[in-house]
């Protein structure tokens, strides 16, 4: 047997498009049993990492081979699904790796914690492969409902309890808005298959029902991606949740909303824009305005934050604004660079949250003032944090610079012609400059200000491993972006094909 996707098709036969998810679901089902049998966190973590690694192996084999298949008209595995599944698996891998030694994650219910983590990741992967409104909705809900529990699992912490309540209520509101939009879209198009919807819409004029569908869906998905003005829940939830879970939400859960936006809106727009009856200009402007407001509010409010988790949460909101440029520009290159930015965001924002989690585990607080003198106490951690923050701000030659360069340039030139979105690129560059201010505050606290305590810090090994991986990728993706950008370009070509 050759070492390619034929392994997957031999084992899973007609279920091959769902192979990575099937592995994850089996893992989620056995995880509590493993915990009750061994009662050891390390055993559960080992099985967990093995499950994610197998799933990742299958996905990489299918992705590199260019495997394409469809399951029952509900799911379709293609280059786009492969890239996004890989992203979700990387996030789940980091979360599983660090949650075993984090002091914030539950001890009593560690099996359930991991089962929920796998279930949430499966939901995200379902969204990436979905080709039908029903499966997109179910995938989003599987990811959301398990995330509510993951946030609430930091029991006995009043902030986590409050964060979970806010998350459930805003999440439920988002679900209701999205479902209403989907129902209107179904009414307008008469089908739930995304490609059929695009075909049906390209033959009809703009109707008020379609307008309602668009508005409610933008609001519903806006809550999921924490775009301003639907962002109020994000800082509270990110602050209240255990830091590994925060990382999972900030880098993984948020991307689900984007995947659904890309799947539903881009496909519709691309199919519909071929006919003169359908004007997308207005909706592009709506997205452009939301993007500009989101990045500005995220960056400006982040300046006044003293809690580093909240600061990173607002910076996450700003990053969502950058990615929303894709929805305004709507070109194939913009989508590819947006997906590339999602990848670099996983490593840089994920890495920053990992460091926060590691420092909380060794007893350092969440305030920026707690980071004073960190460069003396833990030189590598301070250096890694500096790299991640500078990458988020977009300092060359780090990954964040490269992905922002691609993303912003897609808003300026499209096929050699200046687009009308130059102002959006200008706002984004201006925002990057603002963001450098509050990132530098943390670096200043670590390197220049003197701390009260000069004791050396030793952080757990799993955290070190995850942080080193993130550092390596932040540097490599900055210098050799084509490693992932090529896959992103293929993926974007699928959606625009």
């Amino acid at each position: 047997m050759m070492f390619d996707s034929s392994i997957v098709t031999t084992i899973f036969a007609e279920f091959s498009p769902l192979a990575p998810m099937i592995v994850m679901i089996i893992g989620a089902l056995v995880m509590p049993a493993v915990f009750f049998a061994t009662k050891r966190k390390s055993a559960v973590a080992a099985v967990m990492i093995a499950v994610i690694a197998i799933s990742m192996l299958f996905n990489v084999l299918m992705m590199v081979d260019g495997y394409q298949a469809d399951y029952a008209g509900l799911f379709a595995y293609d280059a786009f699904a492969g890239v996004m599944i890989l992203l979700f698996q990387i996030v789940a891998f980091f979360t599983a790796l660090v949650s075993v030694s984090s002091s914030e994650t539950t001890r009593m219910h560690y099996g359930a914690f991991n089962a929920l983590l796998l279930a949430a990741t499966t939901g995200m992967m379902f969204v990436a492969t979905a080709s039908d409104l029903i499966t997109i909705f179910l995938g989003i809900e599987l990811a959301s409902i398990t995330s509510y529990v993951l946030v609430a699992m930091k029991r006995s912490d009043p902030r986590a309890a409050e964060a979970a309540v806010k998350y459930v209520i805003f999440g439920g509101l988002s679900t209701a808005l999205t479902l209403y939009g989907l129902s209107m879209l179904y009414g307008v198009a008469g089908t739930t298959n995304i490609e059929d919807i695009a075909i049906a819409l390209s033959t009809q004029d703009f109707s008020w029902a379609f307008g309602i569908a668009m508005i409610t869906m933008i609001a519903g998905f806006g809550f999921k991606i924490a775009a301003v003005p639907f962002h109020a829940w994000a800082p509270d939830v990110y602050e209240g949740a255990a830091t590994p879970v925060t990382m999972f939400l900030g880098t993984g859960s948020k991307k689900v909303g984007f995947v659904a936006l890309f799947k539903i809106f881009l496909v519709i727009f691309v199919a519909a824009s071929s006919t003169a009856a359908f004007a997308t200009e207005e909706l592009q402007y709506i997205f452009a305005i939301i993007a500009a407001i989101t990045m500005t509010v995220g960056n400006v409010v982040a300046i006044s934050q003293n809690n580093i988790k909240r600061m990173l949460a607002y910076s996450s909101i700003a990053q969502a604004g950058y990615i929303l440029i894709v929805m305004a520009v709507m070109s194939e290159y913009a989508l590819a660079s947006g997906m590339f930015h999602m990848f670099t965001h996983v490593f840089m924002k994920g890495g920053a949250f990992l460091i926060v989690g590691a420092l909380i585990t060794v007893g350092i607080g969440e305030k920026i003032s707690d980071y004073q003198g960190l460069a003396k106490r833990a030189p590598f951690i301070a250096f890694a944090m500096t790299l991640f923050l500078f990458s988020l701000a977009g300092i060359p030659p780090l990954a964040g610079f490269t992905s922002k360069l691609f993303l912003f340039s897609s808003a300026i030139y499209d096929g050699g012609v200046m687009t009308q979105w130059v102002w959006l690129a200008f706002v984004a560059v201006l925002n990057s400059a603002i963001s450098l201010y509050y990132y530098t505050r943390v670096v200043k606290a670590m390197y220049i200000e003197k701390g009260a305590n000069a004791e050396r810090i030793k952080i757990p090994k799993t955290f070190t491993a995850a942080i080193v991986t993130c550092v390596v990728f932040v540097i490599i993706l900055g210098l050799f972006p084509q490693l992932i950008m090529d896959f992103c370009a293929d993926a974007a070509a699928v959606l625009f094909g």
């Binding site: 909705f137 529990v149 409050e162 309540v165 509101l173 209701a176 129902s183 209107m184 179904y186």
Partner: protein, 100 residues
């Protein structure tokens, strides 16, 4: 036969009542109930469109979304219970220690 607009307006009114409740109510359990109203408004839309186009997928969607809503409420109530144990209140005003 009743025209389709009547059903759609009924669903839209139900949705608006739910949205109003989410915004103004202070008791989080009532807020969860209002979210249920909004979800049911969407379900009615699906059923109506399905009945008027004789396409069954809309009804399949409703069965799925009802089970999703049930799961969401179960999780929501459990989280509210946990919050009540820890903070002693489930009023939205009492759950506002984190701001800005």
């Amino acid at each position: 036969m009743i025209p389709i607009e009547v059903y759609l307006i009924f669903a839209a009114v139900l949705f608006a009542i739910g949205a109003y409740g989410v915004v103004v109510k202070n008791n989080t359990i009532v807020v969860l109930m209002c979210i249920e109203l909004m979800l049911n408004a969407a379900n009615i839309n699906f059923i109506v469109f399905s009945a008027f186009t004789t396409d069954v997928l809309g009804q399949v969607f409703v069965i799925m979304s009802i089970s999703v809503a049930a799961a969401e409420v179960a999780v929501g109530i459990a989280i509210l219970l946990n919050a009540y144990k820890i903070k002693g209140t489930i009023e939205a005003d009492g759950l506002a220690s984190m701001r800005w």
